[in-house]
Amino acid sequence: MAKKKSILTPEQRRATTHRLLRFAKPYIAFFIIAFIFAAASSVMAHLIPMLVGDAIDLAIGEGKVDIEAVFSLLPIMLALAVGGALLDWLVRLVGQRISASITHNIRAACIRKIQKLPLSYLDSHKSGDILSRVIADTDRLSEGLMTGIIDLYSSVIGIIVTLVFMIFINPVVAIVVGVLTPMSMLVAAFIANRTFSLFGKKSAIAAKQTAVIDEAIGGREVISLFSHEGDSLVAFDEINEEYRKTATRAVFYSSITNPATRYVNSLVYGGVALAGGLLSIASGGAISAGEISCLLTYSQNYAKPFNELSSVLAELQSSLASAMRVFEFLDAKEEETTAEISISPDSVKGELKARDVAFSYTDEAFMENIDFEASSGQRIAIVGPTGCGKTTLINLLMRFYDTTGGSICVDGKDISKISRGELRACFGMVLQDTWLSSGSVRENIAMGKPDATDEEIVAAAKAAHAHKFITRLPQGYDTLLGEDGSVLSAGQIQLLCIARVMLALPPMLILDEATSSIDTRTEIKIQDAFAEMMQGRTSFIVAHRLNTIKNADKILVMRDGKIVEQGRHDELMAKNGFYASLYGAQFKMIN
């Protein structure tokens, strides 16, 4: 996908620039200040060669130098040099602030975007790719912006100032320089056009490579267990080689710009020397040596911004490609917000009805004809072989995914019309796939109830049988958990996830294999806490160990995306159907 889009049409390029300008808009005052300072700095800087030219003209030859006049020029030059430099520094400071602010704001927009994207997007995009857009691409963009603002300004202003000064000294030579020099722009534009698509390709391959690296870093334990380092390296080498080839070309083509434009300039320089020299001879000294010196300096100064402009453009091209990848992410379709009906965890009774629910991840129907009811306070167990759709059903209840047919109602209100946040606030959830945020143990438990007191947190931890191991951690409740909670075992992470729910206690509960990593001894103890927690709360329990759900008020037996049986344990056993066979298999294991 990225490959196809790496070659930008002019419209896409324009659109990307336009987006970027929107992010720049709040800083318009800074842009203006930078512009004024840059202009002043440029005028000061360009007055110096003119004064030097005057000095050279005053120094005609032995015994013919007006020393006093030359000396009177010196303090003015010093003042101009210091003032110009000071202003130049200020322009840079402002430019850096603008670029850092824009990058900062884009990143802030990215993190907000992540919260608003549908799970279908996040599940189907590699996290390494998204990471590379949020971090690496914005970084490249920031560098592009910085050179862009600082150099673009000084370039454009430099061009105007020198041109005016040159016309003032000698209009003929000024026209020669003014007309010839922009040729370097054409050369630069030609090269930039070629390199842009190459940079896009380079970015796309780099993203692919990041995805490969990300996967290997995440799975490094398995890689070493299977001594798979070698094979993993082979796959890496392939993409690394691809990157090497594309990057070499992209870097080379973009670097032709400098020598090529410099060449055009040296031609112009020669032209000025020729025109100046011949004019001086022909007119018998109407143009002085000092003026030729000044014109030559200006022609170099005049060319320099054009050169910089072209390398700036090249840099902008590459950061534009990065910007586009960032904006592509920022433009991904968000979850539609729905808030027609309001719901509050305090007043929800917890009646849940699913009517003819259907769902598919792709075009092919995955789940169909899901019908069930849960009255307030009931315990609903969901069982079935792996892959039958238990987790998908949970995804639908929490609106991580939206149904493609039928409806689910909470207290008679269609959940597709309730805001997701409000709906989710009514559910407490412990998932099979546990996750802790980086931060302290305390912060993690308090996630569902930010204003919880220490007593409440400890009580929740005790209820989840996590208090004991937490106090054994180096800093107890203040122990910082690294990425993926790496100081804790899978079971300990799960206990913390349970404590988190114990603290929040919303009116409905979802326990998806909530105790799969916990030993049975601890589990028995937690079950008591769970039982207490479920009292008066509508609960959905996904479990493989069927003995843990025998007391459920209703068991939904799923198979291949459908509910094939539902009822109480005894009823289902009496029916001697699919449930009974699942149960029998488990029972057999014990003998």
Binding site: I130, F226, I524
Partner: protein, 575 residues
């Protein structure tokens, strides 16, 4: 950092040729002011138009040769820089994968990812620009100085004073910048970590409506990054204006002394022009040099970090197979203890047992009792801190690590698959496995059914196996281990996501494997390990029981408690 030089291998010619060709170009450039001085002193003064034409012609010729040389140099440096960075990235990747767990856990995934991506990118950029300019700029600076001296040494003394002052300014600002930019990079790592967190934990974050807190935490890190970045670049932005002021002061001195020198007849008007041109040249080149050094500073900080990562210790092991004793137990722990680097006490203390060929050891224990720690010591994910772990009679530390791991197959707790096809994932177990071998393993893991249903061995596996359910992933990781036909099979709570019927099928199939591996099973369910020849009961890192189900039931309190908690007093299922 010097150890990175070797990565220029294969690109040495380019890496040497590029700067030297730039040098040649610089040499040609240095001649230009002399031509103009000649035009002023001879052409204009004597009114000879043809002389002006000649000089201008020479200038164009020099320029043409210069551009050809320069473009070739750009190609060489692009090739060398990209080649270099790819070689570095490759080694870094390899090193990352062979870091001992203790090291890689300390660094963390986000840091490793930044090293391998953004840091290498910056390094590449630095090398590319460095190759092109690092020789050229100083050469022009000193070349212009020498040319000025040749014109008039007394005036040129100004250069001698200016250049060291410039050098000091550049040096100070850069030394100041290195730690500042390292700090900026560290903050960027924090941002990466936050973003990863948000992607990984999206379900929990949304379930707890924790979006705003996550945003706040990110914003805080983002603010800090911006603040550090603005400060660091503000300091480095001093370079250009400061050098500019110094050079202009030098020009003022030069004009003053030059005017006096012309008046005394030591130099001509053209000479004064040439000296002035050389000073301007120095200014332009020094600014380039300063910018170059800023880029190089950032790259050097990256190079430093990369090189630090590259010099972390790797897993080491002997090349030769150790002497093996016939009839030695497949696995033996002798008073083995283990302590994590950051922990205060042992996570596993004084554990001993031995497991014969074809036998099964069950490990049972509460959460955090040290079960996974024990397992990690066998394939040397960690090394025991006290006591020994013996495999086939030889200490695991005496085994070539690859050979040791080849004979062992572990099914880890988290079922992790890799993007590719099912067959590719299965061949992790055994690179040259035939389709039949793979199918047999899939069958034993009760995975053949759904794999064939989805289209067979070549169906794709997305990153992390996201296109399979948790239970399917777990069965695939079991199959991956079985493809290997290991001497020792380790199942670390590998049935947790399976329903009982599937669990039973898989275990029956494993028990019937015709090559009879020794098996270590970690489980939360006593039923999974009841049949084992030995059961090891762990409690807070201590071995509190070792024996058969019957023996433990009779004399191990912890075992009894776990067992009855699940099955009730009479060994029947607890209703």
């Amino acid at each position: 950092m010097s150890k990175l030089w070797k990565y220029f291998k294969g690109y040495r010619r380019e890496a040497v040729a590029a700067p030297f060709m730039k040098l040649l170009e610089a040499l040609l450039e240095l001649m230009i002011p002399l031509f103009v001085a000649q035009i002023i002193d001879v052409g204009i003064a004597e009114g000879r138009s043809e002389y002006v034409w000649q000089m201008c012609g020479l200038m164009v010729l020099f320029g043409t040769v210069g551009v050809a040389v320069s473009i070739t140099s750009q190609y060489f440096s692009a090739k060398a820089a990209v080649g270099f960075s790819c070689a570095v990235r490759r080694d870094l990747y390899m090193r990352t994968l062979s870091l001992p767990r203790a090291e890689s856990d300390t660094l963390g995934s986000a840091t490793l990812l930044t090293r391998l991506t953004a840091d290498v990118d910056r390094l590449q950029n630095g090398i590319n620009i460095g190759l092109r300019l690092l020789l050229r700029s100083p050469f022009i600076v000193f070349g212009a100085m020498i040319m000025a001296f040749l014109n008039d040494w007394r005036i040129a003394l100004v250069f001698l004073a200016a250049v060291p002052v410039l050098a000091v300014i550049i040096f100070v600002i850069i030394l100041w910048g290195i730690p500042l930019f390292a700090g900026v990079q560290a903050k960027l790592d924090v941002l990466t970590c936050h973003t990863r967190d948000n992607l990984r934990g999206v379900r929990v974050i949304r379930a707890f409506r924790h979006e705003n807190e996550q945003i706040e935490a990110f914003d805080k890190a983002n603010d800090e990054h911006k603040k550090k970045n603005v400060f660091a670049s503000g300091i480095s932005a001093l370079l250009n204006p400061l050098t500019y002021v110094i050079v202009n002061i030098a020009i003022i001195m030069l004009v003053k002394n030059g005017a006096l020198a012309v008046d005394s007849g030591r130099i001509s008007q053209g000479d004064l022009f040439a000296i002035y041109q050389y000073m301007t040249m120095i200014l332009v080149e020094l600014i380039k040099l300063a910018n170059l050094i800023v880029t190089l500073t950032k790259s050097a900080a990256c190079a430093e970090r990369i090189s630090k990562t590259l010099s972390l210790p790797v897993e080491e092991s002997p090349d030769e197979l150790p002497a093996l004793q016939d009839g030695a137990p497949v696995l033996e722990f002798k008073n083995t203890s283990f302590k994590y680097r950051s922990a205060s006490g042992d996570s596993l203390s004084d554990v001993s047992f031995s497991l014969g060929s074809g036998e099964m050891l069950g490990i049972l224990g509460g959460t955090g009792s040290g079960k996974t720690t024990l397992i990690d010591l066998i394939p040397r994910m960690y090394d025991a801190t006290k006591g020994e772990v013996l495999f086939c009679g030889a200490d695991v530390k005496d085994w070539p690590i690859a050979e040791l791991r080849r004979r062992i197959a572990v099914v880890p707790q988290s079922a992790r698959l890799f993007s590719g096809t099912v067959a590719e994932n299965m061949r992790w177990g055994k690179a040259d496995a035939t389709d039949e071998e793979i199918k047999a393993a899939l069958f034993a893991a009760d995975a053949l059914g759904f794999v064939e249903e989805k289209g067979g061995l070549d169906i794709p596996v997305e990153q992390g196996g996201s296109n399979f359910s948790g239970g399917q992933r777990q069965r695939l990781t079991i199959a991956r281990a079985l493809v290997r036909k290991p001497q020792l099979l380790i199942l670390d709570d590998s049935f947790s996501a399976l329903d009982y019927a599937t669990d039973l099928r898989v275990r029956t199939n494993i028990a019937a494997l015709d090559y009879h591996p020794a098996i270590v099973v970690v489980s939360q369910r006593p039923s999974s390990i009841m049949d084992a020849e030995q059961i090891l009961v762990l409690d807070a890192g201590d071995a509190v029981g070792l024996g058969t189900h019957g023996k433990l039931l009779a004399d191990c309190d912890v075992y009894r408690e776990i067992y009855f908690s699940q099955y009730g007093e009479r060994g029947q299922e607890n209703g």
